[in-house]
């Protein structure tokens, strides 16, 4: 039996916006290739918690964190709080899916190629191959393969969110952070996304923030709740 290794370790992490404390002395471990759901009342800092792993808070004035976070990428451990890895590199391996789908105002093809372009991948055949692979992984290839040059803004809500997931997958991230990925979608679209997330477990480690307890039950291996600035397993 294979030992499940830890992917993310959180020790004694506290977080402040200015003088406002949002997280207090958080401890957690996330095993690789698992889906951990993070639930809890609104406005308690779940999005902030997710943002700690890919440093999305770095340009907010007054935001600061203390404690230790370690993420194993490949064979090495990095510490996002200490910013010992360049942030763009971090964000390619630790991807974030937003609550509100945010395709860029470009064609589907260019949306998909965008992260590759940022990372310096220019060979067109490599780009095309990676784009197709990612779209297939996101259950979107069949639906859009004939309209790759059309604007991404014309897709339905569910398709947009799948596009955003595919776009994040194109760089083969090791951790996928999902901030309420289905809350702006209807039930059917949400169901497709849930299947997708479960499938992705074999490739990534997922942290999913969710309000919907039934979704959590369907999807998650572990459940934690963020309440009163503290994270507890349930």
């Amino acid at each position: 039996m294979m030992e499940t290794k830890d992917k993310i370790i959180v020790k004694g992490v506290s977080f402040f916006y200015g003088r406002n404390q949002v997280l207090n002395n958080i401890h957690a471990k996330f095993a690789e290739h698992t889906i951990t759901a993070i639930t809890g009342p609104s406005g308690q800092g779940k999005s902030t918690l997710l943002g700690l792993f890919n440093c999305m808070w770095d340009e907010i004035p007054g935001a600061r964190g203390s404690g230790e976070i370690r993420i194993r990428l490949g064979d090495e451990w990095v510490s996002p709080l200490k910013k010992d890895i360049p942030l763009p590199l971090l964000r390619r391996k630790v991807a974030l899916i937003f609550q509100e789908p945010n395709p860029l105002p470009m064609s589907i093809a260019r949306n998909m190629a965008f992260p590759l372009m940022l990372a310096g991948v220019r060979d067109k055949s490599i780009v095309a191959a990676k784009v197709q692979k990612a779209l297939s992984q996101a259950f979107l290839w069949e639906e859009v393969k004939d309209r790759l040059e059309e604007s991404a803004l014309d897709l339905s809500g569910g398709q947009k969110q799948r596009l955003c997931i595919a776009r994040a997958l194109v760089l083969e991230p090791e951790v996928l952070l999902c901030d309420e990925p289905t809350s702006s979608l209807d039930a059917r679209a949400a169901g497709i996304i849930e299947d997708l997330l479960v499938r992705l477990r074999s490739q990534c480690t997922l942290l999913v923030v969710s309000h919907y307890m039934d979704q959590v039950r369907r999807v998650a291996d572990e459940v934690m709740t963020l309440q009163d600035q503290n994270l507890r397993r349930i």
Binding site: M56, P88, R91, F98, N102, L104, F114, L118, L153
Partner: protein, 285 residues
Amino acid sequence: MRASKETVAKGIFLFCAMASAVIIASILLFMVALGLPLFKGGAFFSVWTGAWAPHQGYYGIWPMIAGTLWIATLAMALCLPLSLGASFVITSLGGPRLRRMLNALVRFMTGIPTVIYGFVGIFLLVPLIREGFGGAGMCVLAAGIILAVLISPTMVLFFSDSLQSVDPANVQAAKALGADRVQRLLYVMLPKAFGGLASGFILALGRALGDTLIALMLAGNAVRAPHGLLEPARTLTAHIALVKAADFDSLEFRSIFACGIALYLFTTAATVAVRWIERERMMVP
């Protein structure tokens, strides 16, 4: 009782708006009316294209048009890269403290009166040019440089506004995908802000064409069209300021109204162009 107070108030408001409109229209009217003697007798085209030599009966304002174009073009050529680069730093490339400082600095600069720019230009820049390049020092180059510094702050603010009004969701998306500051700027903000940048450019051009004091104080005011950066020139605006001392009924004097008409038309064209661009931008989702 209340009804009539309402209508009176509405009437007052309407009257003010109408009065303003009438004033704007009458500005052009006055100038055409007073400049008319200059155009009579078939002299219409030579006014715009002829040379200026009042003692010989030539009242062409072409040298002034040329002077205006030379100085404005130089100023825009210097100002555009300066403002673009500074607005890039202010909106994305700089750290938060630097951005705040630069923003405050630029805002402060917009409050500096034009005449002060001219004054410092005369006593600081002109001697430098004289020493470095020879000649009198008062030339197109001097006026162009100071004019560029004068217009840059307003342009920087305008560019920054346009860049920052791009949908933040798009910028966040790019950030989460690993784009750093310059990449976010180049690939997300700049393409979307292009229309706003174009309007800012045209507005600044309008200001460059219409400025009086810088050219008056720094460009030398010779009445020949310039052929090089180090030659003196006179702009339409400076001409108006200089000729007012002449005898009112002379044709020489009337030429200033021709200058006024030219300026009015240039700047109106610029204004309309900007409104057109803005309207096009609002159409695109």
